[in-house]
């Protein structure tokens, strides 16, 4: 192979990748195109470009799905869930990395084992228990249930990272009379910032997009619905009015897309950190 030929290879691959990505994204492009069509256009040809842009579909979706309320509900659940997971996960993960006794190791093992247990294998009784604690049909309650489900993974990441923080830092802080809570809040927690960013992004995306747990916990009530639940019932109701369904899909994707674009780097870092240590 000559040098010139070898230099051409990246260009060939580049064109090939461009083609693959185009095909890969095609379903989403079709979704966007059809979200601005009207019913007649969509019945005529779903592959044609829209004749005129109409945002009427979005208005229908906005009203029918009660978008502001469902958006707010989803936001509350995501916020409650993520904040709790970060607080309790970082506290326990940090302490378990520092204390090296048997009971510390045992409790660490106990806390990370749930990562192996599939959610569906205990969801039936989880609903029963949630009802006992009045956490069903309760938007912040749904967020609280996520604490138990999200802590194992967060704790695992925090513990792994906290092990790498030198102990001298805490020692000198204690020498100078720093109290335990202050030590954690002002010295340790800021040092854990890169893990915290990953934990926040990964958990926020998960809770925002989750469907099954909200279906089981708040599915019965109309005012407590999250975006995903509202989307499901909305899309089931407008069976053949695909223009509305596509518009709804876009309205649901946009918030997650914004989070993704802002925190893109952290997501990738978080995934890789989880993968390498897992």
């Amino acid at each position: 192979m000559t040098l010139k030929q070898e230099k051409q290879i990246p260009t060939v691959i580049f064109v090939l990748m461009l083609f693959i990505v185009f095909l890969y994204m095609l379903p989403l492009v079709i979704m966007i195109l059809n979200s601005v069509k009207n019913y007649d256009e969509i019945m005529k040809n779903v592959l044609a470009l829209p004749e005129h842009l109409s945002f009427k579909n979005f208005a229908v979706v906005f009203k029918d799905m009660n978008y502001p309320l469902t958006f707010f509900n989803t936001f509350v659940v995501t916020l409650t869930g993520t904040v709790g997971i970060v607080i309790f996960g970082s506290m326990a993960g940090y302490k378990m990395a520092r204390v090296k006794t048997r009971y510390s190791q045992l409790s660490f093992l106990y806390c990370i084992t749930p990562m192996m247990v599939p959610f569906q294998s205990f969801m039936i009784t989880l609903v029963v228990i949630a009802k006992k604690f009045h956490l069903t049909n309760n938007v912040p309650g749904l967020g609280i249930i996520y604490w138990g489900l999200g802590i194992p993974m967060a704790l695992f990441l925090y513990q792994g990272f906290a092990k790498t923080i030198p102990y001298e830092l805490e020692e000198s802080a204690i020498m100078e009379g720093c109290s335990q809570p202050r030590l954690f809040l002002q010295i340790i927690f800021p040092l854990l910032k890169s893990v915290t960013a990953s934990v926040i992004v990964v958990n926020a995306m998960w809770i925002w997009n989750d469907f099954l747990l909200p279906l089981l916990v708040v599915g019965g009530s109309k005012e407590k619905k999250t975006l995903q639940l509202a989307a499901y019932s909305f899309m089931g109701q407008y069976k053949s009015e695909w223009q509305n369904i596509m518009a709804a899909a876009i309205l649901i994707i946009i918030p997650a897309l914004i989070i993704y674009l802002i925190f893109q780097k952290n997501i990738i870092k978080g995934l890789v950190a989880g993968a390498v240590k897992g």
Binding site: I9, I13, F14, M17, I20, V21, Y24, M25, P27, L28, M31, V46, L47, F88, G89, M91, A92, Y94, K95, R98, V99, S104, S107, Y110, C111, M116, P118, Q120, S121, F122, M123, I124, T125, L126, V128, I129, F133, G148, L149, I151, P152, L155, Y167, Q180, N209, F211, L212, L216, Q228, A231, M235, M246, A249, A256, I259, Y260, Q264, V272, A275, G278
Partner: protein, 299 residues
Amino acid sequence: MIPATTNKRRNIKELKEFVCYVFPAVLLITVFVSIPFLMCIYNSFRKWNGISKTTKFIGLKNYRKLFTDDPTFLHALGFTFLYAVCVVIIINITALLLAVLLESNIKGKGFFRAAFYIPNIISLVVIGFIWKFICIRVFDQLAVITNDPFWQQSWLGDPNLAVVTTIFVSVWQGLGFYLIIYIAGLQSVPGDLMEAARIDGAGTFRRFFSVTLPMIMPSISFCMFYSVANSMKMFELIFSLTGGGPGVATTPIALDIYNTAFNNNNFGYGSAKSVVLFIIVCTISVIQVRFFKSREIEA
């Protein structure tokens, strides 16, 4: 390292502190995972409709029924295995191949990586509806335009094709995640090692199979582990794409558990199915850990 101390009071103080930090996490996990899980095992030996206060102990009856008198469950078991095997193989090979292509110093790597990841940030329910639209309306349109019988088939209505569709959509949705992990793995392969192999006269394929592949074993084992666990408990995508149909053709175990417990109000029987799902996932995980631990090399 914490200095060893014989001071009993100090030990107690440290224990107290430990409990303060760790207790909330342990409590939450106990309440929302451990207790529900243990209760599930307990209920799997009982007859319970989920509403009445009394439950009745019926021994192994639920389990016996599962394997002898429930064609839906046995079908779900078969479908889940078929689905998992196909998705795991296709998704890992495709992602690794794309990662290798992307790592060959082409322009716009960041763009490609971000583009492939986008389906991952869309909720599975929405993905299901987008693809339902594509299978029903877009393929119809393609059939009209191309007159090709390939597009005229009922991609969601035919039991066999519906299985193919669910597998295809799952791969499309999940690919970006595995791609990112494989790219990170490839980036960790030291360049001088590749250079040494090249100087020793190893060709492109030889370098890939003898140097790259063993070096990225941790990424491979993670991706295998994650994709298996994820496909064994697939629920949401299928729920909105096919609803488990036509008939029960694409009903996975997770959906069967849901239907048993929440549509047929058979909580005891559903719990037995849950326990079986747990045992299957656990067994596969243990086998995988053993298999890959013996193959990983220290970098």
